[in-house]
Symmetry: C2
């Protein structure tokens, strides 16, 4: 169903012979971007090329929202951004316009949370330029675990270390907000006293 959704609404599969050549360059780039330094065992270039064989190349047009916050159905893929820029937005109840959470560029992983836990998408992603990506579906990841468990283990170490980094960033932001609200509380308190 997701496949259909992608094919018809959002994404175009590469198809022509010229595109296939490009697909090989895409594979090289995807492999390159998967090899990120971590504290743990790293994917070798060879490992990364194995992972890439389980990924699907995709193009997404500028302006397309390809992940919707709250979506419970299309939660079975993550993507590696090869080229282009993605805006991640979330709805805050008190606002009409969504707030921008972050802007992602080449090498970013997108949608890995829902891939891992199957929960609804927690933010919306919109292409602010034309995108080239490599998609890893849950089924393909499970196949990779079966076929090449050592590579899969190292991939998961890499993915979880990226999620860990995001969690740290978020924790830092939370701290800033705690400080900010404390300062504001004090200001409001002082005005009340005055």
């Amino acid at each position: 169903m997701l496949k259909q959704f992608f094919r018809t609404k959002i994404l175009r599969l590469y198809g022509t012979p010229a595109a296939r050549t490009q697909e090989s360059e895409t594979a090289d780039l995807a492999a390159e971007l998967l090899i990120a330094p971590t504290a743990l065992m790293q994917l070798t270039r060879e490992d990364a090329r194995v992972v890439v064989r389980y990924m699907l190349p995709r193009k997404i047009d500028k302006g397309t929202t390809f992940i919707y916050e709250g979506d419970k159905r299309h939660t079975d893929f993550m993507m590696l951004l090869l080229d282009g820029e993605v805006t991640v937005e979330t709805i805050v109840v008190s606002r009409v316009q969504p707030i921008t959470v972050t802007v992602l560029g080449r090498g970013s992983l997108i949608g890995e949370l829902a891939l891992l836990d199957g929960e609804p998408r927690h933010a919306s992603c919109t292409a602010t330029s034309h995108l080239r990506c490599a998609i890893l579906k849950r089924q393909a990841l499970e196949q990779l675990v079966t076929d090449s468990p050592a590579v899969a283990a190292k991939l998961m170490l890499a993915v979880s270390s990226r999620i860990a980094a995001r969690l740290r960033e978020n924790a830092d932001k939370l701290k800033l907000y705690v400080q900010l609200t404390q300062a504001m509380e004090q200001e409001i308190g002082e005005r009340n006293a005055a």
Copy 2:
């Protein structure tokens, strides 16, 4: 060095024959707690028992702070809490007392971020009761990847899905803070106008 640190300052290894029996119960419990439902392939009970063989049982006394925020040296282990309660605290610049981030109980993973990315500990953890835990060191995890890659891959799927869940929780908290600061801003603005 960490080993020494643990042995002398913080943790006691089980040692007596009675403790070894208990250690087997500990292993059972640890295996049980590792099998958490995820959207992805799950650790079987057998897999979990393999993981447990790479973990070390530890006891921590009530009142002991066993992870220190900002610690850059002791970042190579995570622990599975088998019994007891842990308070996770962080320092906010404007406050003298640290704020409590969360309270963790049986089945919680502690310290998995630093294990994964090697960055400094981002919060302090204190035992608010006597603890029983199973510790997985980075070296043991790497050994597990080498020895039983399929089990390691599934363990990492489980661990990253837990981190993913925490990231979601944090993102929700951040949203609440955004709303809160907006409301406070408005209140301050209205008072300024009045």
